[in-house]
């Protein structure tokens, strides 16, 4: 059975041997290959190389064409600063004055910012793994892109003070999520991952999520499925227990849950949805491999015979995660409920 088959069968609730293992390895792949993070994030070929090396080392079930949460904002014109070995940050928001956004053309994934590099990364990864390992293309969600082009505080005040304008802003950014997602799928990604961290309940109340965010996610996932996505994966970090019941209606096939939501609660809140989670990312840094193994086994045990569970981290792995801890996690997954030793 290939990793892609394991991944997709799990989403369909089919019986498989072991548990799929998909830790969110993004920039950590660069640290693992001892390359500068700033190079990894700006060179598609290097990103693909590091992702493939990480997958080869750990035997996980997916590779990720995702750089950081400023890719879409940069393509819209924000200025970005790249520290050598840390994630970039925005120095000048593209929509700082938040006027006349919608008159601007949508970014072209073939030429704007780093999007072409990410498309290149997908092409290389897909041509290397074919249909053996899941190639995941990651895009930021509409609320998060809007926050990244005008600043989160301004976006939140806009939502309260001028809700129509806020709705137009996230309509525009939803088009960006969709067009970039479709470009990643056309380049060869099997699965579309939508990362929407600023839609968590830590940031907005549940009713705002339901009113404003769910229709846009549904629009994006629907368009991506039409473009050939084998599955749509929703990643909202932080507190999401009140949002989970709405995920299925958004068209999500799989959702990541962060460590703030206990797996049992998530399974109850979204019984028809495949769930990936939810080891604390920092445990990959601080804990021993025995502890990581036990934490992974505990999650697998909690999922019980639920066939729609994928073992993962609650958020992306820290850059200084210990490789032996990722190996311990994979060992636990491969053993399923009973087998495999620490």
């Amino acid at each position: 059975m290939t990793a892609l088959e394991r991944f997709l069968d799990s989403l369909k609730g089919r019986l498989i041997s072991g548990t799929p293992c998909v830790p969110l390895i993004f920039g950590y792949a660069a640290a693992l290959c001892k390359v500068k993070l700033s190079d990894y994030l700006q060179k598609g070929e290097l990103l693909a190389y590091c992702q493939l090396e990480a997958q080869k080392q750990f035997g996980t079930d997916a590779v990720f064409a995702y750089a950081d949460n400023s890719v879409e904002s940069e393509a819209l014109g924000s200025r970005i600063c790249f520290p050598e070995n840390d994630y970039p940050y925005i120095t000048d928001y593209a929509w700082g004055d938040h006027e006349n956004w919608t008159s601007r053309p949508l970014p072209d994934a073939q030429k704007d910012g780093r999007m072409p590099q990410l498309l290149e990364a997908v092409k290389i990864m897909r041509s290397t793994v074919g249909d053996t390992t899941t190639v995941v293309g990651g895009v930021l969600g509409p609320m998060s892109i809007a926050g990244q082009v005008m600043g989160l505080d301004k976006l939140i005040y806009l939502l309260v003070d001028e809700p129509d304008k806020f709705a137009r802003a996230i309509d525009y950014t939803a088009h960006i999520s969709l067009s970039y997602g479709q470009a990643l799928l056309n380049a060869g990604a099997h699965v579309l991952m939508l990362l929407e961290p600023t839609a968590s309940q830590n940031i907005i109340p549940q009713n705002v999520f339901v009113q404003y965010i769910t229709p846009r996610i549904r629009y994006i996932f629907s368009g991506c499925k039409s473009a050939g996505a084998l599955a749509c994966w929703l990643v909202i970090t932080g507190q999401t227990k009140g949002l989970l019941p709405y995920y299925k209606g958004c068209g999500a096939d799989l959702a990541t849950i962060d460590y703030e939501v206990p797996l049992k609660n998530a399974l109850n809140a979204a019984p028809d949805l495949s769930l990936a989670g939810n080891i604390k990312p920092y445990n990959f840094v601080e804990h021993s491999q025995e502890e990581l193994y036990d934490q992974a086994k505990k999650l697998i045990s909690e999922a019980g015979h639920n066939r729609r569970f994928l073992l993962s981290s609650g958020c992306e792995l820290p850059l200084n995660a210990k490789p032996e801890n990722v190996e311990a996690m994979v060992r636990a997954a491969r053993g399923g409920l009973n087998g495999a030793n620490r």
């Binding site: 994630y87 940050y89 989160l152 005040y157 830590n202 907005i204 109340p205 460590y259 604390k280 840094v285």
Partner: protein, 193 residues
């Protein structure tokens, strides 16, 4: 104030009590950043439009201002992190609760926190971070404070990534889940408990 209330009553019984009423909601995961931002904005408007103009007209403005202030809190986002939205909200809510806030901004080295604490005669540092890669810098804070003779100074950490880590592992006195956790800590500190 036209009805004869004192300024400190408006702050204590008006703003602070209103803020405390949000505490329960926040500790039950019912309060989001959006709601906290709006609460902070509303309170700052009361401060800017009502209380500060009154104090500025008052002959004993400086004395009144000083008498109203509680402890000095040094705030900053730790070295290696430039996210400051959460820290800015904390600064607003501390100010409207009557604390004197010295905001060092973002990407602040541990040594700069220590220098500020010495200079401002502060007893509490609030340090924020959204990412885990900064944790070694936070751990360093207490070590540097001790080296400067400030071993009794309290350090409170907050921010999304830090909630994964225990105070002991982070070498701080408290990892605050939210701003109300910090305010409760400060109240206990002032009572000496």
């Amino acid at each position: 104030m036209a009805s004869g209330f004192e300024v400190h009553q408006l702050i204590e019984d008006g703003l602070t009590k209103a803020l405390e009423s949000l505490d329960f909601k926040c500790n039950n995961d019912q309060l989001s950043l959006l709601e906290i931002l709006l609460a902070g904005r509303a309170m700052m408007e009361v401060m800017d439009r009502v209380i500060t103009p009154y104090l500025e007209k008052n002959k004993d403005f400086q004395a009144a201002k000083e008498s109203l202030l509680k402890e000095t809190i040094i705030l900053g986002t730790i070295q290696g992190d430039i996210h400051d939205l959460g820290k800015n909200i904390v600064a607003i809510l501390l100010k409207v609760s009557g604390y004197r806030v010295v905001d060092l901004g973002k990407d602040v080295a541990p040594s700069v926190f220590v220098e500020a604490a010495l200079r401002e005669n502060a007893k509490i540092i609030g340090v924020s971070s959204l990412i885990t890669s900064t944790i070694p810098h936070i751990r360093q804070l207490k070590t540097e404070l001790s080296a400067a003779g400030l071993q009794d100074l309290r350090v409170v950490a907050g921010g999304a990534a830090l909630r994964q880590v225990s105070p002991k592992d982070l070498n701080v006195d408290l990892v605050a889940d939210n701003v109300f956790d910090l305010l409760n800590f400060l109240r206990c500190f002032e009572r000496g408990s």
